[in-house]
């Protein structure tokens, strides 16, 4: 499910902050530990592997993979 990161490829997820309910479910399923919930927003660090688990399980569909 997780793919190795390729050099030069822009990876990550974008979070629609206007949709996000800041519940932290995405943080719990991130295998890389790349996400963090702070108050009312989600931060994504550069360890994201683009696996898509967070986007899949988001109850409101606020996350999207950035290829």
């Amino acid at each position: 499910m997780c793919y190795p990161k390729l050099a030069g490829e822009v990876m990550g997820v974008s979070v629609n902050r206007y949709k996000c309910g800041y519940c932290g479910a995405c943080v719990g399923v991130c295998p890389a530990g790349a996400l963090e919930l702070i108050e009312t927003w989600i931060e994504v660090d550069n360890t994201c592997t683009n696996c898509g688990a967070c986007a899949k399980i988001c109850p409101v569909g606020a996350l999207e993979l950035v290829k």
Partner: protein
């Protein structure tokens, strides 16, 4: 804030606060941190809790009890109703629906009154380590980083727990190990006197949809679906559809979102100088999603082990393992049972669920608890439920 404590607890939910209270009452120097500005808010919970399980920890108080229900009602996909535990005079579990915002704050206050220092808007951002032991945390408060030393760190940091991962415990959940949910607090309805659970693919694939009355014509109406079934369908769309069809008059006064671990017991919850409690330890029930009283039970156990560790002056796994052994022998056993039932239930079609409900036609289930109900179901439908044959021993 001081530079050093006996125990630092990360997360001021029910698990964290009970750990803090237990440790403080045992004479330990305790810091309880909460990353949010407000303890208990925003809520990420359907707020249902078993009466007896709760009373072990706290005297019920109307300040944080929104309503008391007569029992539970399971509703099959075709609408067949199964009533459970309605007789309040029996010792069956009759539930409260909580006001978590007040409840969580009350528990934190109790920890504070017992002597714990409480800090809000304070987020753990890493662990301090020395000679293979966790020896403290790095925390951020108001944009500034602080290093705080301690003998034991308790990770009570919920579904999004980082403390375990920092300590080398892999707590990441697979999509099939999480229920992803949405709930509305709705007004202008008459929810009745039972907690209602709607089962079936059309309501909530791999989960259930619930209505928990909160008094005064309000209720928590929500649903959780298995993460592995989420994606093309979203919890929020299913809930919006349910409201349109079944409660067109309902007015939404609050929205709640959240994930519930349903992995069952994980392999490891302690390491040198660190223990995990509650949702962070994935101690929520895989079948019901209930996690409040499990977290409180675990918090008490963890707190007691902290006190022993302090007496011995040893904070290694050797001493902390007692917590792990204790919760596995109690909470862990229940989780494992629930996981088996959940794993079977998510495989059943709506037709099969209807069949199960119909098989109870001549059974008075009203005074039964879940396990006794399952046993009756098993006896009537052995082929369908064959996987559960060893559950009742």
């Amino acid at each position: 804030m001081k530079g050093r404590y006996d125990v630092i607890i990360v997360g001021a939910g029910p698990g964290g606060s009970i750990t803090a209270k237990t440790c403080s009452e045992g004479g330990l120097d305790v810091l309880l941190i909460e990353k949010r500005q407000e303890i208990g808010d925003p809520v990420r919970c359907a707020e249902g809790v078993g009466k007896d399980a709760l009373k072990k920890h706290i005297e019920p108080d109307n300040k944080w009890i929104a309503s008391e229900v007569k029992g539970s009602m399971l509703i099959a996909p075709d609408g067949t109703e199964i009533k459970m535990s309605e007789d309040a005079s029996s010792n069956m579990k009759v539930g409260y629906v909580l006001e978590r915002k007040i409840f969580d704050r009350t528990l934190a206050q109790k920890a504070a009154m017992a002597g714990a220092e409480v800090m809000v808007k304070t987020r753990a951002i890493g662990l301090l380590r020395s000679n293979g032991m966790v020896t403290g945390i790095k925390a951020m408060y108001m944009g500034e980083t602080h290093e705080i030393k301690t003998d034991i760190v308790i990770g009570a940091d919920g579904i999004e727990s980082k403390v375990g991962r920092w300590g080398g415990i892999d707590t990441s959940l697979k999509p099939g190990d999480i229920e992803t949910g949405v709930q509305f607090l709705v007004s202008n309805i008459d929810p009745g006197e039972y907690n209602k659970f709607y089962l079936g693919e059309k309501y909530a694939p791999g989960g259930y949809q619930w209505i928990f009355p909160k008094g005064e014509h309000t209720a928590n109406v929500g649903l959780g679906i298995l993460g592995s079934k989420s994606g093309n369908i979203r919890a929020i769309s299913l809930l919006q559809r349910f409201l349109e069809i079944h409660m067109p008059q309902a007015k939404i006064v609050e929205m709640v979102v959240g994930g519930v671990p349903v992995s069952g017991p994980i392999k490891q919850t302690v390491t040198n100088g660190l223990m995990l409690v509650g949702d962070a330890a994935r101690q929520s029930d895989p079948l019901t999603g209930g996690g409040i009283t499990n977290a409180m039970d675990a918090g008490k156990m963890a707190g007691e082990v902290c006190i022993k560790a302090k007496e011995k002056g040893d904070y290694s796994v050797k001493t902390l393992k007692e917590y792990e052994d204790k919760w596995r022998a109690t909470i862990g056993k229940e989780l494992a049972k629930s996981l088996r039932v959940k794993n079977l239930l998510i495989k059943l079609t709506d037709e099969q669920l209807n069949q199960l409900a119909h098989s109870l036609k001549d059974t008075d289930s009203s005074k039964m608890e879940l396990l006794s109900l399952l046993l009756v179901l098993f006896k009537k439908n052995p082929k369908l439920l064959w996987e559960l044959r060893t559950l009742f021993k």
